[in-house]
């Protein structure tokens, strides 16, 4: 493994603590320096100055003693994409990487993008639902930043951002959920509509592709102005708690009414994972989703949950290339992915159905 791969694969703790239904959660704050143009309009010299100022202030923050700084321009394309797959940075961030830098802690619980759409995009992650701890953490970093940099702020509009859809708190909170039973029982469509009506966004691609993504859905706040941070977070927490309850109820219904169908699907998925020689990432994620459900329902040991989560990361397109340390085409990736999965699932115990 090269140095980059080591940094990418060192977050075992975060993945191991993953809970059923809630896969991970995130809070992001967007901030800009008052005396510079926003990233899209700034010249190279300005972006360089912004990056230097931000880097200096972040480096003096005690929380970043065990962290890495990456000049995005130094990375290969698949290395950049692997950071997106890990959610450490956004797709937009890797498009223009001239003067952009990424900071992240060794445990991958905090990442900061410098010169994304806004000068600073600070994110904190957790494997469960606990916005209180997360917000206190990111808020402390934000205090440090706003004490040391001229942050663009207006008494009426709050924190000023490049896009008015982020203005105010500059905060977006999101939760990644694994909702297989709501998809199986076809309740997911109604749930998405209900959540949207409450001013929150459900991400994922609808229409044809909606069920073909391992049943993972990300829910986040749409609005950033007119609420206090704590209001947004407590509303989102309430919504997520009720979705978890719906999902758990739906799992009971599936177990009661469609148990043979469920055994069949989980059993076949494990068969594919143990026997595959060429597997696309969508097929792989769908199979792993069913293995996660099997763990939650007690058909596989609980200790597997974290490993499955890590496996899901490892088999993504760019992660495979980072591990192999070279560019692979789609066919080569599918073969390599199958190899990783076969090896891992050969060691997984047999399913214990009720």
């Amino acid at each position: 493994m090269n140095d980059f791969a080591k940094k990418l694969f060192q977050d075992s703790k975060l993945a191991k603590e993953t809970t059923p239904v809630v896969v991970s959660s995130r809070i992001r704050l967007a901030r800009n320096l008052a005396d510079f143009k926003f990233v899209k309009y700034a010249c190279k010299g300005d972006l360089h100055a912004v990056a230097e100022k931000c880097e200096k202030v972040l480096a003096s923050c005690p929380i970043f003693t065990n962290s890495t700084t990456i000049n995005m321009g130094d990375l290969l394309d698949y290395e950049k994409l692997s950071l997106v797959e890990r959610h450490l940075c956004s797709q937009e961030f890797i498009m223009e990487t001239n003067e952009s830098k990424l900071f992240f802690t060794d445990d991958h619980s905090i990442s900061i993008m410098i010169n994304e759409e806004d000068h600073l995009r600070m994110q904190v992650f957790r494997p469960d639902l606990n916005f209180k701890i997360m917000f206190d953490k990111i808020n402390a970093i934000d205090d440090h930043v706003s004490e040391n940099l001229n942050i663009a702020f207006d008494n009426r509009y709050g924190f000023l951002t490049a896009c008015p859809t982020n203005v105010g708190t500059g905060m977006r909170a999101s939760v990644m959920l694994h909702l297989p039973a709501l998809v199986i029982t076809k309740q997911i469509g109604n749930l998405i509509l209900a959540v949207q009506k409450l001013g929150f966004v459900v991400r994922g691609l609808f229409g044809e592709g909606s069920e073909a993504q391992g049943n993972f859905f990300q829910i986040s706040n749409q609005q950033t102005l007119g609420f206090a941070e704590v209001d947004i977070l407590s509303r989102l927490t309430q919504i997520i708690r009720s979705i978890i309850e719906y999902e758990l109820n739906a799992r009971e219904i599936v177990k009661k009414e469609r148990i043979i169908w469920l055994y069949d699907n989980i059993g076949r998925a494990l068969g594919i994972l143990r026997g595959c020689y060429c597997l696309t990432s969508i097929d792989a994620i769908n199979c792993i989703s069913l293995m996660m459900l099997a763990v939650d329902l007690g058909y596989l040991p609980n200790t597997l949950r974290g490993d499955l989560h890590q496996m899901m990361m490892k088999i993504q397109n760019s992660h495979i290339q980072v591990l192999e340390n070279r560019v692979l085409n789609a066919g080569e990736r599918d073969i390599k992915r199958a190899e990783f999965l076969r090896e891992f699932f050969a060691a997984v115990p047999n399913l214990k159905f009720d």
Partner: protein, 187 residues
């Protein structure tokens, strides 16, 4: 089969967004979706991404008188915002206020900041004390002010001092403003 709004190929991606009970539907093919950043896990699900700003724009309340505006600091106009989906600099919030207020009204919950460092923050924090969150909105740590903010604040204090006929204090503030302006090269 529905067609992609951008290129006319069969649409495979259907995005529905509901903001303040207004529904916008955008249909597109995989390529166009990727082009418009729809697979961006971090960004918005759609809207405000290049080109797509237009699609969202049409669903928004637009203030026609906003069309002639231009930001005195960076030259950003409603047109360039429409193209890029991004503002140019923090000052745009002053000079393009008409445009921004229209967007905020149709996409945000309210028009006044109630979060961290806000004037109204104290009230919001009291309501939320029961949730166990730290009182961040009420807390006002020393936010570093920009020169402009500092000057505004000093000017307000100066006006108040003059009104209160505290001329000694007013003179002190006047000198402070002078020094600050001098150090920043503002005439």
């Amino acid at each position: 089969m529905e067609k992609c709004q951008f290129c006319g190929k069969p649409a495979t991606v259907h995005m529905t967004q509901v903001i303040n009970n207004k529904t916008t539907v955008i249909r597109m093919c995989n390529e166009c979706a990727a082009k418009h950043g729809l697979f961006d896990k971090e960004g918005l699900p759609f809207a405000m991404l290049s080109g797509l700003g237009e699609a969202l724009f049409s669903g928004m309340k637009q203030n026609l008188s906003a069309n002639g505006l231009i930001c005195s600091k960076c030259g950003c106009t409603p047109m360039s915002f429409k193209e890029t989906g991004r503002l140019g600099c923090p000052h745009c919030y002053k000079d393009l206020k008409l445009l921004i207020d229209g967007i905020i009204e149709s996409s945000q919950k309210g028009t006044i900041h109630k979060g961290k460092y806000s004037r109204e923050g104290t009230m919001a924090a009291t309501i939320n004390a029961t949730d166990g969150f730290t009182d961040t909105s009420a807390k006002r740590p020393t936010r570093k002010l920009s020169t402009e903010e500092k000057l505004n604040e000093l000017q307000e204090m100066l006006d108040a001092a003059v009104r209160a006929e505290q001329y000694e204090e007013a003179a002190r503030l006047r000198d402070e403003i002078k020094i600050l302006k001098g150090s920043e090269g503002i005439s």
